[in-house]
């Protein structure tokens, strides 16, 4: 049952100062007054709440509100961008005039009427976590705290936090699109420290997505489940040994290892780098860029996933786009700018961190599809190698394709069996090279729980990743034992 939300953007239909087609048309006219070829308005209202528990009590609760309008004007490959926080007519006009200056010429046309693109709902924003009583949210954190402490006497610290957000956007373009969306998000995390006679280790678990507190109804998502997982992780690491250094076989667990794809190929297939010819995937459509086991898609349509969107930040409808099919590069991820350059349709990957930033081609949920192998068989096939179970994040150099990603829980594989836990370590490799060395692929695809955030050009956006168990025939493990 839904109760009316307390949280509505002032510029939205339920707000105090709704932006209608006429207001949008007027502002776009100002934006194009200097001869720009394209303009858009991006209104954003973001309310976020945070609750942090440590030492057994909810120590801090916080809330933030930010809102504003970003105006973008394009001429050729040049972009003028201006934003304002105040949504008064004068301030909005000022932003439109500032952005207009990228061009220097005569007034160009603004749309006469707008079309509202159709949307398929990939999340619902009728019931918001923000509207639920604070006591209920506090109780979720206290449950995690109790469960973690009860799980093992060696647990000396428990931190649990809940972050909730509503992002309401409205986009109007000079090509006549008018779209809006309400995008909810929650993220829950538990971190513990375990101490065994002075030896300390940390463990964590988290999740969430574009949803409300129904997230916790799933038994594997309950505060207790996350608490137990964090404790398991910390205790496993207490016995961790120094990790080996050098090239070897590595098996990646399903789910979060999708970060490998995100770094090894994902960024390199964002079309802006290719438009500029600065990616090592530039000009390689139709060529083999991965082993033939690999089919990679960017799919913004997964229900409730952290990376899903109903509409991108340029009013385009996102689709599930195939990037690599059986190892062959078949497509890039486009925003409007790169799509125009490649004379193709935008794929709905134009995303921005906030109204204070212009859109870029970005990933949504990047997935490596299932392969033919039984995960057990994959592990059994490894004589000596590393099994990677939990991950801390990664980074890539777009130009040469080198990437790293860090393992926060990994094990030795000896004679086909998972054995000793290893200390935190990085894997380093080259994207096309490592993708070509994927020699086995499991039939056990999992998608990540909602924890990942991707950074590019200083802009952060939420993303999802997913993959089955992956075997890489050879990759460099950055340990300390030669």
């Amino acid at each position: 049952m839904s109760i009316p939300s307390r949280y509505h953007a002032p510029f939205g239909p339920a707000g105090s100062a709704p932006v209608d087609a006429e207001t949008a048309r007027k502002l776009l006219t100002v934006a194009l007054s200097q001869g720009g070829q394209y303009a858009d308005l991006f209104y954003e209202y973001n309310v976020a709440g945070s609750y942090a528990l440590e030492e057994g009590i909810l120590k801090a609760a916080g809330r933030s509100v930010s809102m504003g309008l970003g105006v973008r004007v394009m001429k050729g490959d040049a972009t003028g961008y201006a934003y304002v926080q105040e949504l008064t007519p004068e301030a909005m006009q000022r932003a439109a005039r500032t952005a207009a200056q990228i061009a220097a010429g005569e007034q160009s046309g603004a749309p006469v009427s707008f079309e509202v693109p159709g949307q398929i709902a990939r999340y619902q924003a009728a019931d918001l976590s923000l509207d639920v009583s604070g006591e209920q949210k506090r109780e979720l954190l206290l449950r995690a705290d109790r469960a973690a402490r009860a799980a093992d006497p060696r647990v000396i610290r428990v931190e649990a936090s809940l972050h909730e957000e509503l992002r309401e956007i409205l986009i109007a373009t000079s090509t006549g699109k008018l779209a809006s969306d309400r995008q909810p998000m929650i993220r829950f995390s538990v971190r513990v420290i375990a101490d065994d006679n002075g030896k300390r280790q940390t463990g964590s678990s988290g999740g969430g997505g574009r949803m409300s507190l129904e997230y916790f109804d799933e038994p594997t998502h309950s505060p207790e489940a996350h608490a137990r997982e964090a404790v398991r992780h910390a205790l496993a690491m207490l016995d961790a040994r120094e990790s080996p250094a050098g090239q070897m076989e590595v098996v990646l667990a399903p789910g979060d290892s999708g970060i490998l794809l995100h770094e090894a190929v994902g960024h390199g297939l964002e079309a802006d780098f290719n438009r500029k010819g600065t990616s090592n995937y530039s000009g390689r459509i139709g060529q083999r860029v991965a082993s033939e086991l690999c089919t990679v898609v960017d799919d913004s349509t997964l229900m409730g996933s952290r990376g899903s969107i109903n509409v991108d930040d340029e009013a385009n409808t996102p689709l599930a786009a195939t990037l690599i099919e059986h190892g062959i590069l078949v497509g890039y991820m486009h925003d409007q700018h790169s799509a125009k350059h490649y004379k193709t349709q935008p794929t709905g990957n134009g995303r921005r961190e906030s109204f204070q930033a212009h859109p870029l081609p970005r990933m949504t949920n990047t997935l490596l599809l299932a392969g033919p192998h039984d995960p057990e068989e994959i592990i059994r096939s490894v004589k000596k190698g590393v099994y990677a179970r939990k991950f801390g994040g990664g980074q890539v150099d777009i130009g040469n394709g080198d990437f790293v990603f860090s393992l926060t829980e990994s094990y030795l594989i000896e004679d086909g069996k998972i054995t000793t836990p290893l200390k935190g370590v990085n894997l380093i490799g080259n994207g096309p090279d490592v993708m070509g060395k994927i020699s086995m692929l499991g039939n056990d695809v999992q998608t990540s729980d909602g924890i990942w955030t991707c950074g590019k050009d200083g802009q952060s956006v939420p993303v999802g990743v997913g993959c089955p168990t992956i075997k890489i025939a050879s990759v460099t493990v950055g340990g300390t034992v030669l």
């Binding site: 609760a61 930010s66 926080q85 931190e159 600065t278 212009h358 460099t476 950055g478």
Partner: protein, 456 residues
């Protein structure tokens, strides 16, 4: 528009504190900030982006008894302000009493008359317009690309200028404000390597005062040099060898130390240095200061985020850890006094942070340091996030040069360097005399006697 008038910001802060007190807060602290920036980017000789904007926001921390809440808003309309204050008070009822929560003792608060002018605000910066910024970016990119025909492409050149003012008003009786400016110019050329890979490099200059920036030509030529030097990069075999860090890479190592001596990490027991005060934590060559009083310094501040007078302190003295970095809360948790290192995030929350955190330079030049190095990996760039503060375990991707008999022999990429941070700091066996003035955490070139490289 923005006029950077501290008195006006203090007035708004005082109004918020007053209203929060009236609404039931025992403690209220308001942080007001406003700023404006211009950012331009050119690529391959053409303007790509001109972005201009101003912003203003409010952060509030309240306590009801010892229940704490923080709120933030950029909606400064009357209804937005009311909501912002009401939310804070409502959330404070939800949080649970924390016996360590509280404002600093009023006797410790600094007075406005004590706040020295650290020369952080360049009045000329606001006058730099888009045309001038574009011209500088174009010159810098042209200087890079025209210097060598192998530099066939570019990720562009960026010029930004920003100015801001902020104020803090607390119910304990503090009010103060500060203004600052920052300008930066960065160039990012791309070269095609023989193996079909792109090699991208960059260089940047950043200063409080526009006139202190390196010239566009200097920045462009240095960026070109750094990019060309990467051509032909290759992997080296796995081994134990000395590692030299240049200031761009060294900064992140010192940043790890900063995070591990932060009071918040200490009382949370989430630092390997939690029990190591007054003990050796680095080689005797290592002295690190935290100095908020440097004129025109990127991390300088006259007072900290709780209103205490900021002061210079030696954090690591000849390898011995002298003090943690503390705000009032962390100090109480550890039974100590604040080191005046509180910082107030834009969200309204308070934590400890370093100001200008600097590894003190040694006597030899970087060239002399290199000349005295028999075999080493010289690291210019690092990638990834492999660090565990609880244990100190460190492992990151690295690229740079292979050094033999004091000479750079060939460029290296796609390797990792690993060692526990505790051992890394203790194995620092040479520190050069160069100083990097661009960032608040900075190191000269330095060398670690041995780390594990994983490569071929």
């Amino acid at each position: 528009m923005t006029d950077y008038d501290i008195n006006k910001l203090i007035e708004l802060g005082a109004l918020v504190v007053e209203r929060a007190k009236r609404a039931g807060a025992d403690v209220a602290e308001a942080a007001v900030s406003e700023g404006a920036h211009l950012s331009v980017k050119v690529r391959m000789g053409e303007p790509e982006l001109v972005e201009e904007a101003g912003s203003k926001s409010l952060g509030l921390r309240v306590m009801r008894g010892q229940q704490v809440a923080v709120t933030y808003t950029s909606d400064l309309t009357p209804s937005g302000l009311t909501r912002f204050i009401e939310d804070a008070l409502e959330l404070a009822k939800l949080s649970q009493p924390d016996s360590f929560a509280g404002p600093p003792d009023p006797s410790l608060l600094s007075k406005r008359s004590q706040h020295v002018d650290l020369d952080l605000f360049d009045p000329a910066i606001h006058d730099i317009d888009a045309a001038q910024a574009l011209d500088m970016a174009l010159r810098a990119e042209r200087a890079a690309l025209s210097s060598d025909k192998r530099l066939s492409n570019s990720e562009g050149a960026t010029m930004t200028r920003q100015a801001g003012a902020s104020a803090l008003v607390t119910s304990g009786g503090f009010s103060g404000g500060t203004r600052g400016t920052y300008a930066s110019l960065a160039v990012h050329p791309v070269a095609d390597d023989a193996d079909g890979k792109k090699r991208s490099g960059y260089h940047w200059s950043a200063r409080r005062y526009f006139a202190d920036l390196d010239t566009p030509e200097q920045v462009g030529l240095e960026a070109a040099k750094r990019t060309l030097a990467k051509l032909g990069s290759r992997k080296i075999s796995s081994q134990e060898v000395a590692v030299v860090f240049d200031p761009d890479a060294g900064r992140s190592i010192l940043g790890l130390l900063a995070s591990c001596i932060n009071g918040g990490a200490i009382w949370r027991k989430s630092s390997y240095l939690a029990e190591r005060e007054a003990q050796p934590v680095a080689s005797p060559l290592v002295t690190v200061i935290d100095d908020p009083t440097i004129l025109r310094g990127p991390g300088s501040r006259a007072f900290d985020g709780e209103g205490l007078l900021a002061r210079k302190q030696t954090v690591v003295d000849a390898g011995v850890l002298k003090t943690f970095i503390l705000d009032t809360y962390g100090a109480k948790k550890l039974g100590k006094a604040s080191t005046a290192n509180a910082s107030r995030g834009s969200s309204g929350g308070v934590g400890a942070s370093t100001s200008n955190f600097i590894l003190q330079p040694g006597k030899q030049s970087p060239a002399e340091l290199l000349a005295g190095t028999d075999k080493a990996l010289y690291v210019t760039d690092m990638m990834g996030f492999g660090f565990n503060a609880v244990t100190g375990d460190f492992s990151r991707g690295a690229s740079g040069f292979w050094v033999e008999k004091g000479e750079r022999i060939f460029p290296v990429s796609e390797v990792t360097i690993s060692l526990n941070l505790d051992d890394m700091l203790k194995r620092i066996d040479a520190i050069a005399s160069d100083q990097d003035l661009r960032t608040s955490i900075s190191t000269p070139t330095f060398r670690i006697s041995s780390m594990t490289i994983a490569g071929k």
